[in-house]
């Protein structure tokens, strides 16, 4: 067993994994916004899920109490995370599992690759897992000559299409049925050329395609939705049965889990098993949930490894405002209600964690300067906070991270940014009444910029691309007040 102490928090290392985009959000968003098909696909999908989720949440009379309970359990967990993780390790070990501690993506990839190599298998099957996406495990396995096969339908669509996931729950949400049919016809060996774009037909094609893989692959890799410290029980929540296949059929199971997924007690599951499906897929309960504790003789994998992944999480924990992003149970409700996500899709965020939660998770995992545009990728409308089943105050974290970015920039550059100069000047002006009133009078000069703002410098000129400027009135309110 390898063991790394959780002390000395570090951010997720560069050069590995998928937490950083190649370009700032506004640049990537511009390209997505130009894709009319993408906008239609996203609008349809998020509209559907919002309606479904609202209906089943409406059935639960104590939904607000459940949300509060979820928040409280997570806050308690974060307050004593090291203790709970050690308790989990003890319980898993006692039940016949092996626990590994990975400080970052590099270490986690090495641990998993070594474990697979030791089995002699050159192929692994995978259950959809955000943690393994985060660390770029598939690339690490491929580099070691091991073929990773994604078994979740959406992940399969993404993998076959050599695409990137764009949603936490439904990674292929940006694809409609016609596009999925084309990908299957092009990339799925032996697929029926008469394949239609009926979702049931497409699902059946995936069933046939993966059946052999399930029956013949001896190693599986999963994530975990929850890990119960008290009992050592792991839980995977899914729909298709590919999770059950991976958790049941192979000889060896390797579960990679972010350290924040631990919950204190067995009874705590009652809160999250009620919150997650309704907030996530809009179902009263998802079709399948598997729970296992270590190894059960003659039933399921006889070799079980749990890899506890830090990769920037301990660093997040040190931030009193930002740490609540670790409460996330990856339901993706915030994506589905976000007006920004609905229009730009997930790829614009650059990280495997898109949407509002991604905009607060990714910059904290990597250090804010590596994802400096993400905290600004929100109008702060607050829909995400309302939708979050564990009440993460995403808008407040976004505002907090904007300040972190400003501070980091200030510390790294000798000269202040133009924005910082403007902001300081504006604050000074607004704190001196004569200056403020003079500025008000001056603002009338923008009348000469015209309604289309042709006289304005960037970035203010960006405003006038699609909107007319308000025309300053002949008299400010305070001038009127004095005269009346």
């Amino acid at each position: 067993m390898t063991r790394t102490f959780l002390g000395m928090p570090a951010t997720a290392p560069r050069g590995v994994g998928h937490l950083r985009g190649d370009e700032p959000f506004p640049v990537a968003a511009r390209r997505s916004l130009a894709d009319a098909q993408l906008r239609r696909n996203l609008g349809h999908a998020t509209g559907t899920i919002r309606a479904k989720s609202a209906a089943v949440i409406g059935e639960v009379p104590d939904w607000e109490e459940l949300r509060e309970a979820g928040r409280a359990i997570k806050a308690d967990t974060m307050a004593r995370l090291p203790e709970l993780l050690q308790q989990l390790e003890t319980a898993v070990t006692a039940a016949g599992g092996t626990v590994h501690w990975a400080a970052d993506a590099v270490e986690a990839n090495r641990i998993v690759t070594d474990l697979v190599t030791a089995t002699g298998s050159d192929r692994v099957m995978k259950v959809k897992s955000m943690a393994t996406q985060e660390i770029g495990l598939n690339e690490a396995l491929e580099a070691a000559g091991i073929e990773p096969v994604e078994t979740d339908l959406a992940e399969l669509i993404v993998q076959l299409g050599r695409d990137k996931p764009s949603h936490i729950l439904v990674p292929a949400i940006h694809r409609n049925r016609a596009e999925i049919r084309e990908i299957f016809l092009r990339e799925m060996p032996g697929v029926d050329p008469a394949l239609t774009d009926e979702p049931a037909v497409l699902a059946a094609a995936a069933r046939r395609h993966l059946r052999r893989t399930f029956l013949s692959t001896r190693v599986a890799i999963s994530g975990a939705n929850f890990a119960v410290a008290e009992t050592g029980t792991l839980a995977v929540v899914e729909s298709e049965g590919n999770g059950r296949m991976c958790l049941t059929l192979p000889d060896t199971l390797i579960t990679v889990m972010g350290i924040e997924k631990v919950i204190p007690t067995w009874a705590d599951l009652e809160v999250f098993l009620q919150l997650l499906p309704r907030a996530s897929t809009g179902e009263r309960m998802n079709p399948y949930t598997s729970m296992w504790t270590g190894v059960t003789p003659h039933d399921g994998p006889q070799d079980f490894h749990l890899v506890l992944l830090d990769n920037g999480r301990s660093a997040m924990l040190a931030d009193e405002v930002g740490r609540q992003a670790l409460h996330c149970i990856r339901c993706s409700a915030c994506l589905n209600v976000c007006p920004v996500y609905e229009r730009t899709g997930g790829h614009a965020y650059g990280s495997v964690y898109p949407g509002p939660i991604g905009a607060v998770l990714s910059p904290q995992l990597t250090g804010v300067e590596d994802n400096a545009s993400l905290p600004y990728a929100s109008s702060l409308c607050g829909a995400c906070f309302d939708a979050c089943p564990v009440k993460i105050d995403i808008p407040s974290i976004l505002v907090h991270l904007r300040a972190e970015h400003v501070t980091a920039y200030r510390n790294e550059h000798r000269l202040p940014s133009a924005e910082a100069v403007t902001m300081a000047a504006a604050a000074y002006t607004m704190d001196h009444l004569p200056l403020y009133e003079a500025a008000q009078r001056r603002s009338r000069l923008t009348r000469f910029a015209g309604r289309h703002g042709r006289g304005l410098p960037p970035p203010l000129s960006g405003w006038t691309v699609g909107r007319d400027l308000p025309q300053p009135p002949p008299q400010t309110f305070r001038e009127w007040w004095v005269q009346r």
């Binding site: 999925i180 979702p199 729909s239 298709e240 599951l269 309960m285 296992w292 270590g294």
Partner: protein, 183 residues
Amino acid sequence: MHLDVLIHRLTDYGAAVHRCADDEVAHVVDAILGGRRVVIPSGLPRHWLPDTVEALADDNLPTERIATADGVVTAAAVAVAETGTVILDAAADQGRRIITLLPDVHICVLRVDQIAAGVPDALARLDPRRPLTWISGPSATSDIELNRVEGVHGPRNLHLVIVPRGSHHSLDPVGDPHSLPQA
């Protein structure tokens, strides 16, 4: 009342629900799987099986044999009315997890007194040391345009047979699941 809620939820998911006396279960199984090959866990009450099925008792059957079966018949540990869920805990009348996974038809026999009102109640009845499978309707996916479509990798047909209180009780001894007697 829990029973009505459970039936409503299960039907909503596309599962078929049958209600009968304990000694009529075999008729229901016959109607669904008569003439077919059926895997059964070692502790399944034999009177639930009609003569018309080819029974394949799971005494550590190899995966390939289980995969050739048309269906599987098991008991259940607990059901959750509120969410339309049946939970298997690998007791002798439910068997190893694999047997309810590969066959395309799963017939699950449930006693009325095994129905819990909600998730908290169900968790309290379960032993976390056992491997647990929570099943809410047939295998499904929402990955294509977020519409729920039944039938991906798990059994595409789920039948719940609900029998009265006091019917067959599992003979599985309560205790450490890691030392369960295996068939």
